[in-house]
């Protein structure tokens, strides 16, 4: 019973933090663009409204896919240690986390493709291409850290950085951190790597046919993915944290970097994005890997 409650709490927590980050992110972007911006709780309002509205579905795959999307990401989230706490006792294996994350994306892609709108499919095709673009540098970074630590457990990696700030992988392996940051930007689908949603071009891509609660679920999925991705980076590079508050703060720092980049950059074309991801971050990551191996 406690375990069930714990799992549930972790899920709600991730959703909450993710939505909060999204709201604040919008505000920050508005300030950068010299606007006033929406209130920081706007994301909660949006989601609430979306769930309250009637929505349109094309077939059961859309329902299934959206549930799978959020479910997959929530499941991923349960494997990520948050300030040393994990929802259930497990080995917090990085590879498991990376693969589990994919099921969320698959659910999402499936749901939107089921709508039969070409814009959505184009968006998904771009998103998957982008995925190939960022997974490779990101994994190269992870590989370096795994080899250094001799373990693929996220928890152990973050524990190994305990102590002073100088023990953080961010300081020890700055190149890896830079590469991971660039990959993270793409992972979150923020500018300059947002060719998959490109509202002006393909009518917000995957989301084109989502309405009401489907859009709401997509929002939540995005929120959880923000949470998971920043949490992974914090664990990998910033040594985790001793309490949850510090952890969330560190996560927010990571998110803020992403937001800053997002606010000022235009958009890459998809092939440009992949080419960029396969030259700059991979180059940096491989350099770091060589430094580690030799």
């Amino acid at each position: 019973m406690m375990a069930v409650l714990r799992v549930f709490l972790f899920g709600i927590f991730a959703i909450f933090i993710g939505l909060l980050f999204m709201g604040i992110g919008r505000k920050v972007i508005a300030r950068i663009q010299l606007r006033y911006g929406p209130p920081f709780y706007q994301a909660f309002l949006d989601v609430g409204k979306l769930f309250a509205r009637k929505s349109i579905t094309h077939n059961f795959v859309m329902d299934l896919g959206m549930v799978m999307a959020l479910g997959g990401l929530l499941a991923t989230m349960l494997f990520v240690p948050i300030a040393g706490h994990v929802a259930v006792k497990t080995s917090t294996n990085l590879i498991v986390i990376m693969y589990l994350m994919a099921i969320g994306y698959l659910g999402m892609a499936m749901a939107v493709a089921a709508s039969g709108n070409p814009n959505a499919t184009i968006g998904v095709s771009r998103a998957l291409t982008m995925m190939l673009g960022y997974e490779v540098p990101f994994f190269t970074v992870i590989l370096g850290l795994i080899i250094v630590n001799g373990t693929s457990s996220l928890e152990l990696i973050s524990q190994s950085q305990a102590g002073s700030i100088l023990n953080w992988n961010m300081i020890k392996f700055p190149l890896a951190f830079i590469a991971a940051e660039i990959a993270l930007q793409a992972m979150m689908g923020e500018k300059p790597f947002d060719a998959m949603i490109a509202p002006a071009e393909i009518a917000s891509g995957p989301m084109v046919e989502l309405s009401g609660k489907y859009l709401g679920l997509a929002f939540l999925t995005h929120a959880v993915s923000i949470f998971v991705e920043t949490a992974i980076i914090v664990n990998l590079f910033m040594g985790g944290a001793s309490n949850i508050f510090t952890f969330v703060l560190k996560q927010f720092e990571i998110y803020l970097i992403t937001i800053f980049i997002e606010a000022v950059f235009p958009r890459f074309k998809i092939e440009q994005a992949v080419k960029f991801l396969w030259t700059v971050p991979i180059g940096i990551a491989v350099l770091q890997l060589l430094l580690i191996l030799l």
Binding site: P39, K54, I56, P199, A200, S204, E209, G212, L215
Partner: protein, 161 residues
């Protein structure tokens, strides 16, 4: 013409939580900006019908109310409300961004108070609207029975609360 300033730094409609959305599926409010030619009307109707409920229509500028300077054009409708239910209109030719923001604010209040529910009317009086639509849309059927090939400018903007 009035919407870009309303959305960007000067007036920043986003502080009320209002932002543009790319597709009707995600939108709550349909803004019909400016005169509605017959071709446009056809698209407006499809877009409107694709929006999930609840949905509202904000008719924008004098042209949508009485045709404006196109009042006697053979190809333009004069009153949008005959074809789709309009919740709120903003008059002026052209209205200022402040007027748009004001209209949106009013619409929100109306929604809260339950006044704005024109989409229900559309359902109830579907035959009426349909008859009106068909009457004018007949004219768009090409003379030689060919389908029209030329593109047209999108005149609809959708907004989300």
């Amino acid at each position: 013409m009035e919407l870009p300033p309303a959305m960007t730094s000067r007036w920043d409609v986003e502080r009320f939580g209002v932002g543009p959305m790319a597709t009707p599926r995600q939108a709550d409010v349909l803004l019909v900006t400016g005169y509605v030619s017959l071709k446009t009307l056809k698209r407006i109707i499809r877009t409107y019908e694709q929006m999930p409920e609840p949905k509202w229509v904000l008719a924008f500028g004098s042209c949508t109310v009485n045709g404006g300077i196109y009042w006697d054009s053979y190809n333009t409708i004069t009153n949008l409300a005959e074809y789709i239910p309009v919740d709120i209109t903003v008059s002026g030719c052209m209205p200022r961004p402040e007027a748009v923001i004001d209209a949106l604010q009013t619409l929100m209040k109306m929604i809260q108070s339950g006044e704005a529910g024109a989409y229900k009317k559309y359902k109830e009086n579907y035959e009426y609207y349909k008859a009106n639509q068909d009457r004018v849309l007949k004219k768009t059927v090409p003379v030689l029975g060919q389908t029209p090939k030329n593109d047209l400018e999108g005149k609809d903007e959708d907004a989300k609360e």
